[in-house]
């Protein structure tokens, strides 16, 4: 549904551009392709890393880690799992809901969701390509620390 909207927007813009200026549109597409090809090696590496990480960290393993009584260690583990994995939101949210019903703690789930979205360990090669090592590491470390703060906050609000 997310992707469909993306295609619709891209399609409308492309059609509009083509009607206005064919030459410019051709240049735009050429640039798009060059940029895509330029980043393709990093994408492929990330793809392989993701496949390996996710095959080890399946839902069973994750739910084992995120139990209600897992406490601080559970929160830390949950945020680490979230930081490493790369799961689209439309898969992660129902899974998180199922885990909650299955007895996982709210703070643990919040830590998982937050770090899943903000921290990307396996996508680091890509991020470094565009933002350099320093900025990429800095952003991920700060985002990781923040995801723990966010988790505690969400856990507290939900418990009110």
């Amino acid at each position: 549904m997310d992707t469909l909207a993306l295609y619709l927007i891209a399609g409308v813009c492309l059609a509009w551009s083509y009607l206005k200026d064919r030459q410019k549109t051709r240049i735009a597409l050429k640039k798009a392709f060059k940029a895509f090809e330029g980043i393709l090696p990093q994408f492929l590496v990330v793809l392989i890393l993701v496949a390996m990480a996710l095959s080890i960290l399946d839902t069973r393993t994750i739910s084992l880690i995120l139990g209600k009584d897992s406490g601080v260690w559970g929160v830390l583990a949950a945020s680490l799992v979230g930081a490493i994995t790369l799961i689209p939101g439309f898969v992660a949210f129902p899974a998180a809901a199922a885990l909650l019903q299955g007895g996982a703690g709210v703070t643990q789930i919040a830590a998982f969701v937050s770090s899943l979205m903000m921290v990307g360990v396996v996508t680091l090669p890509l991020e470094i390509q565009f933002f350099g090592k320093r900025a990429a590491f800095l952003r991920n470390i700060l985002a990781y620390i923040f995801s723990l703060v966010a988790a505690v906050f969400v856990g507290w609000v939900v418990s009110l």
């Binding site: 399609g11 392989i48 496949a51 095959s55 969701v113 565009f130 350099g132 320093r134 900025a135 952003r139």
Partner: protein, 178 residues
């Protein structure tokens, strides 16, 4: 441009590691193959429209305009625009990096770029509705509230901690998109 073989050297190494992984740990074989197919499909589906939009953005939006909207003197308005742009975007975080590069090339300020990345990573409006229905509005809204604070804090911290020279280097590197 570097020769093709050298650019893809890391890919070959990763692919070799993956094959080794499949052979040494056959327990994970099915799961790993299933995951790689699924992720490849997602990436190949999401990436093309993003890059098409990037190309169009680069060709159609003049630098002066972007400078005015999101440049160093755009102030609060620029930050808000960066936040909304990231929040309404679709696709996983790795789609945001090339977009950020084009925005940088067009003259958006570094702090606005950081806000954009932060918003794209975590305050997606379409996803928010989905999160709210799956995990409850209390969960989703409190996360949204704290995330807005977090995005700004993280952006300010990175800007403060990253040397000017490195920022200038990133901008020079972003120029290469064409």
């Amino acid at each position: 441009m570097k020769p093709l073989l050298r650019r893809y050297a890391t890919v070959f190494i990763a692919a070799a590691a993956f094959i080794l992984f499949l052979l040494v740990l056959p327990v994970y074989q099915a799961k790993a193959l299933q995951t790689i197919t699924f992720q490849a499909e997602t990436m190949l589906l999401v990436i093309p429209p993003i890059f098409v939009l990037l190309g169009l953005l680069d060709v159609w939006v003049p630098r002066e305009q972007m400078m005015r909207f999101m440049g160093p003197d755009s102030g609060l308005k620029g930050g808000t625009l960066a936040f909304l742009l990231g929040s309404f975007a679709a696709g996983p975080l790795y789609g945001a990096f090339p977009v950020a590069a084009v925005l940088m090339k067009k003259g958006a300020s570094f702090i606005n770029i950081l806000i954009f990345i932060g918003a794209w990573s975590t305050t997606k409006i379409p996803m928010l509705l989905f999160e709210s229905s799956a995990l409850g509005p209390r969960f989703a809204l409190s996360r949204l509230a704290i995330d807005i604070v977090g995005i700004i804090l993280i952006a300010l911290a990175i800007k403060a901690l990253l040397p000017e020279k490195e920022v200038a280097r990133l901008y020079r590197q972003a120029e290469k998109f064409d």
